[in-house]
Symmetry: C2
Subunit: 395 residues, 2 copies
Amino acid sequence: MNIQDDMEWITCDSPVNIAVIKYWGKRDEKLILPLNSSVSITLNHEELRARTTVAISRNFNEDKMWLNGKEQSMKNARLQSVISQIKRLSRKRKTDCDQLDEKLQWKLHICSENNFPTAAGLASSAAGYACLVYALSKLYGINGDISKIARLGSGSACRSLYGGFVIWNKGESSDGEDSKAEQIAPETHWPELRILILVVSDQTKHTGSTVGMQTTVATSELLQQRLQTVPQKVDKIKQAILNKDFHSFAEITMKDSNQLHAVCLDTYPPVSYLNDTSHHIMQLVHAINEDNTSNMVAYSFDAGPNAFLFMQEKDVPTIINILRYFYPSSDPHFLRGLPVPEKDDYHVDYTTFIELKVVPRALKFVIYTKPGPEPSVKETDCGLLASDGLPKLHQ
Amino acid sequence: MNIQDDMEWITCDSPVNIAVIKYWGKRDEKLILPLNSSVSITLNHEELRARTTVAISRNFNEDKMWLNGKEQSMKNARLQSVISQIKRLSRKRKTDCDQLDEKLQWKLHICSENNFPTAAGLASSAAGYACLVYALSKLYGINGDISKIARLGSGSACRSLYGGFVIWNKGESSDGEDSKAEQIAPETHWPELRILILVVSDQTKHTGSTVGMQTTVATSELLQQRLQTVPQKVDKIKQAILNKDFHSFAEITMKDSNQLHAVCLDTYPPVSYLNDTSHHIMQLVHAINEDNTSNMVAYSFDAGPNAFLFMQEKDVPTIINILRYFYPSSDPHFLRGLPVPEKDDYHVDYTTFIELKVVPRALKFVIYTKPGPEPSVKETDCGLLASDGLPKLHQ
């Protein structure tokens, strides 16, 4: 934390996480308590992260917030809930030696941005809320489990507070005290795992996940069956992760993604996130896997058409060449993120063993990344607020 | 039946049927016994039908079959099963006065064609098998229930043997004796009901329904839940049909279509029949209905991307204008089938209340039809075989 005159501030980064056992449906809308436990992989900060600077000062006149360069209203129930819970926890843990009581009265400035384009349609609220809660906990000097507070901002945000492989236990208690995230294994446990994010070109506006899951809970006949089968799948994927058993990991991941989108379709009116490109990617993945003795790649889709592909590092060059073949692009920045080792098989005619159409420009771009660590505090010069407490961008 | 020299022949027409409670999954692959009962609407022959001429002669050297102008192998297990069951029934019911024993030895020529283009991707096996079984029953003089035999050719064919509103009771017995179709109400019961078939332009090849449902039964976790809820939905839609309650009929129809495609997506590997145009049509239908106090239109999708829209006659001009608006086409034969009463609201800007993109050429064409009667025997001059027992087309 930095202290200058009467302003205190801190800057933190927080990762994106991708669920492999999906969270869909709440048992408590206000406390954001889920109907099922979920499992996710936290991604490397370098490629995808939210960054947030939080500052308090006796000179600020009102709470203010900027998100990706634009000022936002503070009148968001979830945002208010997160801030008041952090302050409550801070009050509970205060020591006599600080002037916390006074500082808790100081107005707050929040400035947050993502290092990936909004137009990519990648959900950012989880990383954003995790980052805000993490930064506020550092600013107000809170230790201990804050994933319950992040959950109040955006359910899946609680998973972004841990690195590597994470479970969000749904919990049983009605006050949500046991509905929190914990780490299954750190990112170093499975160093070979890699992720490709396929950002599809057609980002048609779709139902938000909050409304989508509410409608599913209210109308889907099949959701109950899904909820009964999730605990078994959670156990199985934890084992697959602990054993680094890619074949099983891939199968469970794909089945769970498909089941999420199945209950969305069973919703009335139906909720649909997958488009023709998403389905093409799914068929391509199954075709690649059928051509192998065991699964080489797995897909997962959230509340949008973009695909998250999981694979082992050794297979990345092959997968990338297949993607370049089926989704040709002239964009020199088509492939972003980690450097990719080249593999000289560009001239393979994949259509001889994969019966699928080539679809030029189906993908906007691809981000190559890997599992990564928990949120972290950044150096002062990474800060998004200037010494006057206003966004640097605007100066 | 026509008798000339040593050849006997007959020509019949059989309708297409559209399920509103879908058949998906068999409990017996060989006897084609379904896991759930299904409900369908038989369509008018004029717009969509199969026509079959069957002929026997002491002069034929072998069994032969032509389908839409092309000779087919007779070595199809289902085809053989249907023919042998028909002959078995004929033997059982023979009287002393005919020379049936001899005629049952005569070789058989079958010639069948549909009055709708194959490229339209409309399933024709139900109408085709219903037509074959109906024609053979007339040729061999069989009365009584033949829907069990049609079922052996293609499950849903049994429903095409009745007009109007039809239920295929799944039955309980292991020999399939009680798995047969029966009429809920004739087509004259609900004379206001109309159907628009939206043939979508992108007819990408997809998984056949036989393999699709096998894979669903083998892998879908959600199918069991669907099977538990079907009986209630069957009762409800029967009531809606008997009460001519379009609002309920529409809701149950859409929910069941969505649930079918949900269990397809929950299959591993997933089975997908809906494409972006199908989803656009679904969104359009829900937008139209939301703008009304009660449902004005319902969709249903089979194992392909084409939409079957149900509505009442009074709403047809409005629906057609909306379709012309969102799926503009320059094809003068865009709208086929029954004549459509014009409605002068071509200049309405539907995008002001329906937030959807206009998608030119998304539809190949639209067929306007209505519920229709059971199969029928045709006049001699409709026959597809010439007096030498070979297809007229080929002469």
